[in-house]
């Protein structure tokens, strides 16, 4: 059943609305919500929303509880290839929990938080941005790790990053919901503006596996395809920033173990044919982020590595 959770007028004729689809079966009271599209340039979640619903509807008798899908929290952004909210020049993940009396952006945020509150679990799917390619991973604030890491372990993500609190992240959807007692996991996978079907199908499998764990799914889940994630805690991630400006050229793949001193790629100068810098891994570890967008300036993030000893 498709329902509109927020609606308002745009200046010229058009209606702005946020919609969700609800699938219910059985007598189970558990409710899981899949939300995505906060950032208009992140599209991996679009395929996951589609595929998850398709698979659930094919075996609807196996569902015991409620699945709700919110594919577009920032519909104007998705439709106009804009990361933020177009009219406000604003990152939507910096305005939660919103305000029902505030601007349209704040009202939208408030309606989303109100609608999601009380769910047994919310999964907020992101796909990095156009610059970085991410292995499927859960991002969890250290303050909520105790509650959320056990859920994330069943989600078929390759990596769980438990990171420290930062003040600026207080205005995210996940923080707003977690601080209201609604457990919310942020997932990052793939790269902006593209869909990786392999990652998407693995994530759908992970969500079904988690639903099985929660007693909401009675169907088969191929456990041989569920991976055991690497859990990164206590500031063990190294950031590799560009030491120079140029074109970052790499054939290095994510999800690999790199040794200290391994080449991660080169910053090249197509004008002269020279290599400006050979970028080396600063430590041994698990590579979970690699730059996808070739143009870089000094300081641009090129890679993130979870340190291993």
């Amino acid at each position: 059943m498709i329902k509109t959770i927020f609606e308002t007028d745009l200046p010229v004729d058009e209606q702005f609305s946020i919609k969700k689809n609800t699938i219910t079966n059985g007598s189970g009271k558990k409710r899981i919500c899949i939300v995505t599209g906060t950032h208009g340039d992140e599209l991996e979640g679009q395929f996951i929303c589609f595929q998850l619903q398709k698979e659930i509807l094919e075996e609807i008798d196996m569902l015991d509880g409620t699945v709700e899908v919110y594919p577009a929290l920032n519909p104007m952004g998705i439709d106009s290839i804009t990361r933020g909210i177009p009219n406000f020049d604003l990152d939507m993940n910096r305005i939660f929990p919103g305000n029902p009396e505030g601007t349209v952006a704040e009202q939208t945020a408030a309606a989303i938080v109100a609608d999601l509150s009380g769910a047994d679990l919310v999964i907020d799917i992101h796909s990095s941005n156009i610059f970085l390619r991410e292995v499927p991973q859960a991002r969890i604030n250290v303050m909520t790790a105790e509650t959320l890491v056990p859920y994330a372990r069943h989600m078929n993500v390759n990596f769980i990053w438990v990171h420290d609190a930062a003040t600026v992240l207080e205005a995210t959807l996940a923080h707003s919901l977690n601080s209201r007692g609604t457990p919310t996991i942020v997932v990052e996978l793939g790269v902006g503006m593209r869909i990786n079907h392999y990652y998407g199908k693995n994530m759908v499998l992970g969500i079904k596996n988690l639903m099985k764990e929660m007693g909401m799914w009675k169907g088969q889940v191929d456990s041989s395809r569920i991976v055991e994630p690497i859990v990164s805690q206590g500031d063990s991630v190294s950031f590799v920033n560009a030491p120079a400006s140029g074109i970052f050229s790499t054939e290095t793949h994510n999800e690999s173990i790199v040794e200290e001193g391994d080449s991660l790629g080169q910053i090249i100068d197509p004008l002269s044919g020279a290599v400006i810098e050979d970028v080396k891994a600063p430590c041994r570890g698990y590579l979970f982020t690699i730059r996808a967008y070739p143009v870089c300036y000094e300081g641009s993030l090129l890679a993130r590595i979870h340190r291993l000893v």
């Binding site: 007028d9 010229v12 074109i247 300081g299």
Partner: protein, 304 residues
């Protein structure tokens, strides 16, 4: 910093006087802040001739940075063109971090030890403001010093979460008497628009004793009024549509007076008339012809 294909990224500072680090002034940090850059250019020109004429007090140094972001201005983008980040959300900066964090760090390193700091700012809210000096309520704000610009208002605003990464906030925390000047519109380089901030900063320079400069312009023409958030009434749009404004900043309004209309963009009918909720002065108004429901369209400074 070098770039892939463009020229070297450079930030220029102009120093006047020799001695203690007394005053730093920062102009454009975003590509559309041409007004702010132009005001700094006028100040550089004035300070050059004052230095030549020996009018800068001994033992005091002034630094003017007209632009911290020439790259965005040259491609007419508000933010850093490659990744859309805002230098004024990166302070105090990080010299090993992302590109704009490094730029913020370089700027902050150069300006953090000055006694007074002035930023020619533009708001995240579009539109026009009454000329004012803005301070953040950090516990370090100095209202008396802010009055020395002789602008009509000093507005002491409670910080919002994102403010902790702005220049003004970090300057105050690092013990500089810092403030932002809002006087003019982005991209407006008309002589009238630039006169107000240039004169205000020159008055400030005289009033804190950095220069001796006898001119009519250095006498405040107002009794500066100090405002905080309680003195300003925000009016939100009661409907979406075309915003037709009937007044300008500084306009005195009385309670019940119609100050704007929201017009239907198809048939021209009036969707809503906006009446002032109080007696006061228009302090800020929306600078765009379209509005959504509940968008802040006016701030009125109410009379007690």
């Amino acid at each position: 910093m070098e770039s892939p294909y463009r020229d070297t990224f450079r930030i220029w500072g102009y120093r006047f006087g020799i001695g203690e680090k007394t005053l730093a002034i920062v102009g454009a940090m975003r590509g559309d802040e041409v007004h702010q850059q132009f005001v700094c250019a006028q100040l550089v020109s004035k300070l050059e001739s004052m230095e030549r004429d020996g009018m800068i007090a001994p033992g005091q140094e002034i630094l003017v940075i007209p632009s911290a972001n020439p790259f965005s201005m040259n491609v007419e983008k508000r933010f850093w063109a490659l990744d859309g980040t805002d230098i004024n959300r990166m302070f105090p900066g990080y010299d090993l971090g992302e590109t704009t964090q490094r730029i913020a760090s370089g700027v902050f390193e150069a300006i953090k030890d000055y006694k007074y700091g002035i930023q020619l700012a533009s708001s995240y809210q579009t539109g026009e403001f009454m000329p004012h000096v803005r301070l953040l309520k950090t516990g370090f704000e100095d209202v008396e010093t802010a009055k020395l610009f002789g602008l009509p208002y000093v507005y002491v605003r409670a910080p919002k979460p994102f403010d902790t990464t702005t220049l003004n906030y970090n300057w105050q925390i690092w013990d500089t008497k810092a403030c932002s000047i809002y006087a003019g519109k982005n991209n407006d380089v008309s002589p009238e628009a630039c006169q107000v901030p240039v004169n205000a900063i020159m008055r400030f320079i005289v009033n804190v004793g950095i220069a001796d400069f006898a001119s009519g312009a250095n006498r405040p023409s107002f009794n500066t009024i100090v405002l905080d958030d309680q003195d300003l009434v925000t009016i939100n749009s009661p409907a979406a549509g075309i915003f037709q404004n009937l007044c300008s900043p500084g306009h005195e309004v009385s309670k019940g007076e119609i100050i704007a209309r929201i017009i239907d963009p198809y048939d021209g009918s009036v969707r809503s008339e906006i009446a002032s909720p109080c007696d006061g002065v228009v302090f800020h108004l929306l600078g765009k012809p379209l509005t959504l429901l509940h968008t802040p369209i006016f701030m009125i400074r109410k009379y007690q």
